[in-house]
């Protein structure tokens, strides 16, 4: 299956973070690559969503919805810079 990108989960990210997140700058904790979440690889894996660094493919974020509660693992990021929300 071909990966999508962060645009595909824009709604889910907005729901979790409370604002537009595709422009948030994500820094990969594994290789240091930095770029907007919109450009990360996204796998709609069935049980959950896996977001990977486009450069090294390591996991940067996992989002799982369990009984209407979102579990979000940001451990793969060394930094997540939120965009300035108007």
């Amino acid at each position: 299956m071909e990966a999508l990108d962060g645009n595909a989960i824009g709604g889910m990210l907005y729901h979790v973070f409370g604002g537009e997140m595709t422009m948030a700058q994500a820094q990969c904790g594994h290789c240091g690559a930095r770029g907007p979440l919109a450009e990360c690889e996204v796998y709609l894996g069935g049980p959950g969503v896996v977001v990977r660094c486009r450069v090294c493919h390591n996991i940067v974020m996992v989002l799982v919805e369990v009984r209407e509660m979102m579990c979000v693992d940001l451990g793969g990021l060394s930094e997540l810079e939120l965009p300035a929300w108007r």
């Binding site: 299956m1 990966a3 796998y43 894996g45 049980p47 896996v50 799982v64 369990v66 579990c71």
Partner: protein, 201 residues
């Protein structure tokens, strides 16, 4: 419940299926959805190995050695936690009993590990006694990489996330440890007949 849209229904449903074969909350499908947590791995067969470990490697097989093991055909119904089920899927592979027979152990649990880093945990009881295989053929053809080829775990009695794709081995454990999805709240056991989708179900 949210707003219901006139006339909308699941397209995948195969209404000919015998309801007694369908666990609660599931819909039988004719296709075979591909769902993944990462890019499809492509380990060359001359570097592929399957191992049984418990901290150290107890036993390992190369692809050739693995293919030389006694294998058997398997027909099974499979149930994905995302609510699709597929009946009478046909595979061929090596029973996990055959693999574990070569190893001395008293583990209670296993953690399947895979190319790409995916893991999933299972009680030893659920991968022995003819309940689990490492399969490399689906519908008479070599298992497609998209569906877990060259080889994947097949444990039909549990939700299909336990049938780990691109499996490379089993780690023997004394205690149950959550694998990838289990860590995020999916059920440690995952019995589709008791609808054990999430932790606490």
């Amino acid at each position: 419940m949210s707003f219901v849209s006139r006339g909308f229904r699941s397209r995948r449903r195969d209404t000919d299926a015998d309801p007694v074969r369908v666990p609660p909350g599931q819909s039988v499908t004719r296709d075979f959805p591909v769902l993944s947590a990462g890019p499809t791995p492509h380990t060359p067969l001359d570097r592929w190995t399957f191992s049984i470990e418990n901290g150290g490697v107890l036993r390992t097989w190369t692809w050739e050695e693995f293919r030389a093991l006694p294998s058997e055909p398997v027909t099974a119904d499979i149930h994905c936690v995302t609510r699709w089920s597929k009946l009478d899927t046909t595979w061929e592979g090596v029973s996990v009993d055959t693999l574990l027979a070569e190893v001395d152990h008293d583990a209670g649990y296993v953690l399947a590990f895979c190319d790409g880093g995916y893991t999933t945990n299972l009680p030893l009881e659920d991968v022995t006694g003819g309940k689990a295989w490492v399969v490399y053929t689906y519908k008479g053809e070599p298992l497609d990489p998209e569906h877990g080829g060259p080889a994947r775990l097949l444990v039909p009695n549990l939700y299909f996330w336990k049938s780990a794709k691109w499996v490379r081995g089993l780690r023997l454990l004394d205690e149950d440890e959550p694998g990838f999805w289990e860590t995020y709240g999916y059920h440690m056991y995952g019995d589709p007949w008791r609808e054990q989708r999430y932790s606490g179900d």
